[in-house]
Structures are given as C-alpha cells and as structure tokens.
Amino acid sequence: MMKAILVALILLSAYKTDAQLVHPNSVWRYYDLAQEPPIQSGETWKEPGYDHSSWSSGAAQLGYGDGDEATAISTTTKTGYFRQTFIVNDITDYSGLNLQLTYDDGAVVYLNGTEVWRVNMPAGTINYNTYASTNSGDNVIITTSVANTLVNGSNLIAIEVHQHSASSSDLSFDFSITGVPAGGAAIITRGPYLQSANDTSLIVRWRTNIPTQSIIDYGPTTSSLTNTVSDMTLKTEHIMEVNQLTANTQYYYQIRNTADTIVFPSSDLYFKTYPVPGNAMPLTAWILGDCGTANNNARNVRNAYYNYIGTQHTDMMLFLGDNAYNDGTDAEYQFALFQNMYEQKLKNTIAWSCLGNHDGHSANSNLQTGPYYDIFSFPTDGECGGVASGTEAYYSFDYGNIHFVVLDSYETDRSVTGPMHVWCEDDLESTAADWIIAVWHHPAYTKGSHDSDTETELKQMRENFLPLFEEYGVDLVLSGHSHSYERSFLLNGHYGLSSTFNINTHTVGVNGDGSGQLDEVPYYKAPVGPEAGDGAVYITTGSAGKTTAAPINHPAMYYDAIALGSCVLKINQDTLSVIFLRQSGAIDDEFTLIKDLDCVPGTPCNDNDPCTINDELDNNCFCRGIPDLRIVSSVADAGANTLRDAVMNACEGDTILFDPGINDTIELTSMINITKDLVILADPLDNIVVSGQHITRIFQIAALKEVVITGLTFHGGYHASEGGAILNDGIILLDSTEFIDNWQGGDQKAWTNRSEIRIRQGSTYLRIVP
C-alpha cells in the first residue's frame, strides 16, 4: 500500500504534458577547431542549409574543464558550435516553445537560422572571438519561453557557447526544447510502444497530453495504411489491440484522433507479428537488465546496441527488472524507458519484462496494481502461447519454436506448492517448443552485488525452480539484480551453495565445462540418451544502467565482468548464441549452444578433421570421427603406402599398422623424422625389419613427442656422432623390438637418447632409460 501512495504522489508530477522535441543529454554535432566554422557556398554555420556532416558528434553534456562532460571537446577552442536537427510533423500542435540551456559562460541560440535567445552575451555582432559578458559559474541551467517559429518537417537548432575570457578553464553545454501544446491539440507524451505480440495480434500503447480518441491506421507500406482500428472513448492511456494480422509480417502504422494525426508514419514506425507457434524462425532479442538509471550509462549501453544492430529488426526487448530506479514510479519509468532512452526501439519492437525489486516497491503483484502493472500489458490468458497464468506477474509466450517463461521472483510466492510453481510446471509440460528460455530478476547463481548463497529470493529460485526447469530441458536462464555480467558453463543439477559446485559433476554435454565459444567448441545438448535435454546456461546481466563492485567469483561461471552492457540473444534453427555487448561496443563474451532435436545419432557426418574417419553424430549430435589407421603395404623407401609416407601423412595420435603381406626389409636411404605422437604397431611374428643400410639413422623423435613402437627390428642404423638406429628427444616406448647391427661411427650402438626411452616386453617394463 505504501507503494500505492508512492504512485499517487508521483503520478501528479508525471503528467507533464509538454512534448519533448529536443532531449537533454541528446547527441549533437559540434565544431571545436578554435575558429568560426567556415562558410559553405554563402551559408553560415547557423543556417539550415549548412552541411555539418563533417563535424564531430557526441552526447551532451558537451564541453571541457569540469570533468562531468559526457563528451569532451577540444580545450583549445574559446567558442563551441553545436547543431541538431529535429522533425516536427505539425507545427500547429504547439502554441509556443520552452527552451532549457545548460551553459558556461555565454550562449546564443538560433532556430532555423534566426536568433531566438541570447544568454550572458554582449549586444551586437557575435563572432568566434566574442567573450561572454560575465563569468557564469559552472553548469548554469536557465529556461525561457519563445514563440513557435518551427516549420513542418526538419528544424535546425544551432548554438554557440562562448568563454568569458582567454583564461577561462571550462566550457559547458546542454540544451532541450519542449513544445507547449496548443489548446485542444493532442500530442504524444509517451510511446508508442508494443506489447503482447503473437502471430496474429499485438497491443500498441501510447499516452497523450489530453483525453482523446485512439485510432491506428496500418498497412504494408507507409503510404498504404489501409486498415484501421479505433476506440472513440476519450482517454490519455491508449491500449489498442490490433488483430487479424498475418504471421511474421511487418506493418507500418500511424496514430491519430478524429481531428489530427498524432504520430506520423515513417520508415521506423512499424510493428512485426511473431511467427506461427512451432515454426522455426530466426530471433534477435535485446536483453536489458537493471537498466533503469535514466542516465548516460544507460544511454551509452543503448547506443552500443544501436550501433551493433544497425538497421536490422529486433524481435523483442526483454527487460529483466529494475527498469526504473529507485521505486519504479511512473515518473521514473518515463525517463528510464520512454523519454530520451529507448523510444526509438520501443515503437517497433515488442517489449517484455519481469518484475524487479525496485519495480516492486511501487507495485502490488497480488492485486496487480501500481505503475509496473499499469504501464505494461502482458498476457494472462495464454493468448501469446503457453498456459494461462491469470496474472501479469508471471506469464509465458511463444516466438515460433521458442517458449519464454517469465517469473516474478520478488513478490509472488516462490514455494514449490505456490500457484506460480504449479502453473510453471503445467506450462512447461504443455509446451512443445524446441527451445525454452526462462526469465526472472533474482539470479540463481551470482557473486555480484548480490549473493546467491545468502539471499532469500535467489536461493529459493535456485532450489525450487531449477529442478523443475531442468526436468523440462530449459536452455537459457536470464536474470539481473547483480550489477555485473556473469555467464555460466553448461550446468545441470546444482542447487546448493557455490562451495558445493563441482565442475565435473555439475556440467554436461560436449564441452559443458568449457567456454562454449565458437572459436573453441560450442556447447551441445543431447536430444537423446542418458543426458537428453540436460544443460542450461545461466546469465546474470544487470549492468545495463549501472555497475557495482563485487567479488564476481561464483565457480559456476565461465566468464564474469563488472562492466556496463547488455546482451543480445540470437536463435536460428538449432543454434542459440548470446553476446555481452559492452557500452564501448566491444563484445566481451559470447557462447553458442547447439541442440539439434531432429538429428539421429549414428548418422554419417563430416567433422572437418582430416585425421578422423567414419565420422558420425554422437548422442549430443556432436559430429565425431575415429582416428584414421595408416597401413604400410610397401617396403619401398618412399612413395605411396610406405612407412615414410605413413609417418609423414599421419595425424597426431594416429596408429600405423603393417599389412600382413609385408615380411621383407624396409630399406631406408635417409632418416625418417617423427614430429607427432604416433603408435607404430607391427606383429613380431611378421619379422618386419627396418634398415638404415649402414648409411643412415632410421628415426629421429622430436622433443615432447611420444612414440610407441611395437614388433619392429631395427637394423643397420648409422650416424657418425649420434647413432645408431634412433636419435630420441621425446619419449619412446619400445615393446618387443630388436636392435641389430646399428652403429655410431665405428662403435655398435642402438640409439642416442636425450630424453626418455621405456623398454617393455609384453606387459613388463624391462628398463626405463632416463
């Protein structure tokens, strides 16, 4: 209930109805080359026609000298020049404009080439060398209201910020514009954003400054919005279901009321339905944990994803809770999600979320009240796939052949007899999806800013829910809460404290205890056999808004880092992959999980290893071959099927055998170098002799190489100084071998040993020569 009061208090301040046209902390073009920007074909830098594409760009606050800049510009410039364009579709929506400037020391603001505001600057003509009138102090924020001189379409705001003197050490700049709605004009104050998609329908939500009708026109192109859904009830919170859509299809849309268009169609204003349940279609999901700081940390993480994904469509944004700090209030959500944050993606990407503890401060999951439940529309009746949960606190949905289960680890009963667990079991039993992905806020495994060994929610989720999810073959579990990135091995059956984790018994599958990275060996999950369905990767990724120092030493984790970032999940057919994308754009970690449910173990395949033969799929559907056998069938010194040829072409660890037809002497004219681990296996009864003909040593074994030689007779090996038959720098095991008439110079000598030779007769070691 204290949550309800919080909400009421915040709602009052949340209904700020001006439209944000230029956001604070937004990205600007800037010129800092210690001179006024050069004129281009008669156009000065402040005019709309001027081309600023060669200017640098960066997020505000811009400047230097204070240490609080998001983008530092050159300290050599006395004046900074800044430009930004923005689109206004209908200027009659606004009766005036409110401007807010952060500056140090003076500034002049131009809108579409005309000066609209001069702050702490002298009268008259301003140029690069003009100083501000006085020292302003640091980061002064000032506001003013001006007339609406906008134009329909592209508008330019251009600003010059001046120092007070040549010795001034700092320069600061940020700027925003809000439009004051004209009387009766409906404008968007939140959204649009997309919810609860399935293959034939989805929900579009938005908020307006005044109560008005809800109308969506949509169609296959921006110029063909031929379908309409509408609700003539006057409201500010608009929740419109669009249905009877075609699966996996993109539709463009616009939003309007009966009087006016409120959101105009554009190339990035669209929604895309999900694939038909069961159909395998590629998925790209953006995973954001604990992103709700509403600051430049979150924006930098966002920008890294935008740069990474480019123009490619994102199928879903998956918020892992703590989406708005500190209390998940409506006002906090406004700035953490909707305004100057994710609005560019939210309008064309389906958003899903689980409840975080900070969201829970102002929400009541049992009554499904509070901002979290007011803001989001999640499926409760199984309308997006899965079993009806009857609550938005926990639910499930399908994307093609992928089943997502979203749980409330904060407010809802986590016991095995509780409704959430009972529903979850029902849901998991019912799904026929190829992939299962579980999402909740409190991680099962973490040693980040939270500890899964000691904290109640984390322990209960691990102890109560992991056995259930594992039984039904969950593939990936995503959580936040700890403000770090921690990614596990391919785990199975670990429900205890971190001290009880055993990498040998709690990991499964091919390379389950490895990196899972493509440049090594990905994780493989077995579709059949005793380990069928076993193994899941657990990711704690709660650093999309902030990081917190922590030990990050959970032994179940292959990789961990305290770094700002988000995750990108991709699934295509039988392959799942995840990357951790830092705010810098660097990819810190990646893994791939392969689960080919249609494969038939024993089916021939190609493991791309030339050293193996008879390659076939094992129970994990991992293609394996057996080492090839090398058969010597010629007694010639060199050429096909000779001993020399077999040694040269053998792979590491191969076995070389002799055709039963060989019972003659192999006469060498030069030594054979052995530079790999080999087994050379002859039957002593065949009396195979290898001869150096008293002109050459027979074998040289390279350092660190192990060679097993059985059943051969070495004869006539010769070397002037390092004889006789073998020069050994590796490890040789000689079994049932004979050395006859081998020489070093004028002395008989079997070998020269510089490492280790073991001599065995049958199973008995006769001698080990160090």
């Binding site: 204290m2 919080l6 049992n366 009806a388 009857g390 039993e429």
Partner: protein, 273 residues
C-alpha cells in the same frame, strides 16, 4: 593485498545477505545524522529496514515518525508490517486499522490485515477479508484465491469447505481457464466426494489443455473412483494416444515417463478387472 581486500569484501557480502541494501541504509543513516528531525528520511530508512528484514529497527524508525506527528499511510503500513513480522499482532492490527479508518476501501490495507490475521491464527476473519479483497479487486492474482481458500480450510468451521468452493468458483469465473484454481477445486470436490462436479471441471481442464494426457489420466482416476471403468479405460487409451504424439524430446522428460508408466499400469490393471 588485493586478495586480502577481496576476501574481506566477500566476508562482508556473506554477512550482509541483501545485496546493496546495507549500503543504502548506511547512506540514509548519514543523511539522518545530518538532519535528525527529517521524518521523511526516517520513513524511508524504515522501509529499507523492512526489506533488509531488520524488523525491530524498522519499527523504531516508523514509531519515531509517529511520535513526531509524521503520520501517513506509508508510515502506518510500515509500522503495521514491522509489528506483524515481530509477531505483535494486536499492534499490527491497531495500525492497519488506522489506515482503514480513513481509507476503508484500500485493498492493499485489507490484504495486509488479512495477512496479519493469518499470522495471529484468526483464520476465519482472515478468510473473510481475503474474500473481500478478491471480490473488490479489479485484477486479483490466483494467489489471493488460494490464500482465501487456505484461510477457510484453516478456519475449520462447518461451512469451511463450502466457502472454499465458492471462493475458488469465483476465482475461476474471474480468471477463466486458470488451471491452478481449477485443479484446486477438483481436489476439493473430490474431498467432498462430489465427483460429478469434479469430473465436469476436469473435463473443462481437458478441453482447454494443450497437453491433455495428464488431465485425461486424472479424469480416469475420478472415473475409477466412481466405478466407471469403461470411461476410465477410454480416457487412459486417449491419454496414451496423446503421449505417443508429443515431440520425441518431451517423451524423455522424467515426469512424463512417469505419467506414461502410471497410465500403462492403470490401464493394465483396469483391463484385467
């Protein structure tokens, strides 16, 4: 040195089992030290103490607010919750009633009061309150119905099971197709030996379920209890068919293998009879 610092940090985290809450409490304590008469800060720290499960400290902060005339719904909710956790039931009820005196329709306060009553073993009163909450709430979660049903069962009055049935039926009406509530009601009908309604509801579960084998098996058990072996056999046969058609990777799930075994065994048993 680094290792030592890390070990100390780990030790610190081990002793503070609520993540960064202790840091936030420490920060707000510093603010209170600087402004000891700021009751807003006390209230916020009290709420943090509640989350940190330091209920005595929470109660102290909220009580300080009240002593200084800083009384609002958040403070009253906080102090009531703290008293409930400290098992001082009368005090908890006193403060939650203060909220309800001024906001009698506050469902969160009613839910809190029901929780307090359960802790105080006043199950019948709690059950009535839960009933009020689920009746008046716009989107009550299934858990509230389960809690109400549980409270009625603990109430142990002659009408308890009837009340349980009514509340669960109301839940199923308000949250259609919710299998958690439906299964609970089927169990209750069976307990009451009202097999007709149990079978009727179980049939609804079968119709809405995408995994029908288990629901069919459970109805077969009901048919068996009511001496209708032919219908039971028909359900079991149908369950076998459904199981045979699930994807291969689901057939190896342990609980599904167990279900299959149970179906086969029961079918064999009934066929022999």
């Amino acid at each position: 040195m680094t290792t030592l610092v890390l070990q100390l940090f780990t030790l610190l985290c081990m002793t503070l089992p609520h993540g960064d809450l202790h840091i936030r409490i420490r920060e707000i304590t510093q603010q209170i030290d600087a402004a000891p008469h700021d009751m807003e800060l006390r209230m916020k720290r009290g709420e943090l103490y509640l989350q940190h499960e330091e209920f005595a400290n929470a109660k102290e902060d909220f009580s300080t607010c009240l002593r200084n005339g800083f009384q609002n719904e958040r403070v009253l909710t906080g102090v009531s919750t703290a008293y409930m956790q400290l098992m001082r039931i009368d005090s908890a009820l006193y403060y939650v009633d203060l909220i309800l005196n001024t906001a009698p329709e506050d469902l969160s306060a009613h839910e809190l009061k029901a929780n307090i009553l359960i802790k105080g073993n006043k199950h019948c009163d709690a059950a009535d309150l839960y009933k009020k909450v689920v009746t008046e709430a716009v989107h009550p979660a299934p858990l509230l119905y389960i809690q109400a049903s549980l409270a009625y069962s603990l109430c142990n009055e002659p009408e308890s099971n009837k009340n349980r049935i009514e509340i669960l039926k109301d839940g199923i009406f308000k949250i259609p197709g919710n299998s958690v509530l439906q299964k609970e009601l089927v169990q209750l009908y069976s307990l009451e030996k009202n097999y007709d309604d149990a079978i009727l509801l179980q049939t609804e579960i079968i119709n809405q379920s995408s995994f029908k084998a288990r629901a069919l098996f459970e109805r077969a058990q009901l048919y068996d209890l009511t001496n209708q072996p032919e219908l039971a056999i028909a359900d079991l046969t149908s369950a076998q068919y459904h199981l045979a058609n699930i994807p291969d990777h689901k057939k190896v799930v342990e609980s599904i293998m167990l279900l299959k075994h149970s179906i086969d065994y029961m079918l064999e048993d009934l066929s022999e009879k």
